[in-house]
Amino acid sequence: MTSIARSLLPLLFAASLPGVAGAADYAVQPASSKLGFSSNFQGQSFDGSFGKWTATITYDPAKLNTSKFDVEVDLASVKTGDNDRDSALPGSDFFNVAKFPKAHFVTTGFHQNGNQVVADGNLTLRGVTKPVSLNVTFKPQGNGATLDVSGTVKRLDFGVGGGEYADTSVIGPDVKVNAHLTLTAK
């Protein structure tokens, strides 16, 4: 009991910090925010986006160690502008939403790469959790900010389009993620 209390104490202390000295909490404005991606099919790129997702954003460029992104994506809400593709993606060969309805990205830390802030985190997709790093561009605006995030996810790392769909000469191996969020301070 005392040992638990001892190990919890720093956590409780840390949890009380963000309100005082931590990074700011933001609310996402869904109407002007977009979680998009682009990939490649038969040599032609296509764009897609997710209609339903939630993001908890705690961020301050000066306090990266207390900043955090936590994003949950409803994979069935994918749209790519092609009916065949949109009906195939939620299926068992790709996202398999029947078994894994959501993707989850949560940061484990941030680091600076020159002028570029990079969010390091874990992406859980289709039952597989792997580290993914995303470039972060944060621009304060009034009492809010815009947040642009981009990076590359290797679809086969997560078994998205495995089996015969693993042929990367037909379906490109890389999925470029690009998110634009409009944030207001909480």
Binding site: Q42, G43, Q44, G81, A88, E164, V170
Partner: protein
């Protein structure tokens, strides 16, 4: 065998285009009608990509053939009634139009449907129409009917050639055969 056509016989280049395109167009047409037999979506994607690449090859061959034909001379018509000459030329004209319309209607459908157009996984060609799935269905039907019409016209073309070869025993087919020797001339510089 002469590369260029002569007064009485088609040259090697004209024969090459004729027979290669006959083979490729028939093969790709029959293949196209069988593509629904693919056992998986990915196999179907692969088959369609192949069908499209072969179709684009036909289009390229057609353009080359047309240029060659404009530069080459034509053998004069074999002796025969005037209506047969007119009918033969009309059938040739319709075949040329259909050979061009087949790949173009396929490209049109592909564009309307919003599919990529990649040539043997090497490079992509642009869409020639805005996406329109409604119209795509109609154009797909057109693409298929054009092939059936092509087959019908081919019956006339091949039937007439065989009629001349077998019943009239003349040079109409011989002058287009890959290693054909003309009758009534010891050697017209061929083979």
């Amino acid at each position: 065998m002469n590369l260029r056509s002569t007064e009485r016989q088609w040259g090697a280049v004209a024969k090459f285009f004729h027979w290669l395109m006959a083979l490729v167009i028939l093969g790709n047409g029959i293949f196209g009608l069988c593509m629904d037999l693919a056992s998986s979506p990915m196999q179907k994607i692969g088959w369609f990509a192949l069908h499209k690449s072969i179709g684009l090859t036909v289009l390229a061959l057609f353009l080359l053939r047309l240029m060659w034909r404009l530069a080459d001379r034509r053998p004069r018509d074999e002796p025969g009634p005037r209506w047969q000459h007119l009918a033969a030329h009309a059938v040739h004209g319709v075949l040329y139009v259909l050979i061009l319309a087949m790949p173009l209607s396929g490209w049109w459908f592909n564009s309307l449907r919003g599919f990529p157009l990649q040539y043997f996984k090497q490079f992509n060609l642009p869409a020639i129409a805005e996406k329109n799935e409604e119209l795509a269905r109609t154009v797909l039907a057109l693409h298929e009917y054009l092939f059936y019409i092509l087959l019908l016209v081919l019956v006339a073309h091949v039937g007439a050639a065989l009629k001349h070869h077998i019943f009239d025993n003349d040079n109409v087919l011989r002058r287009m055969l890959p290693f054909g020797k003309l009758r009534g001339t010891p050697s017209q510089g061929d083979s």
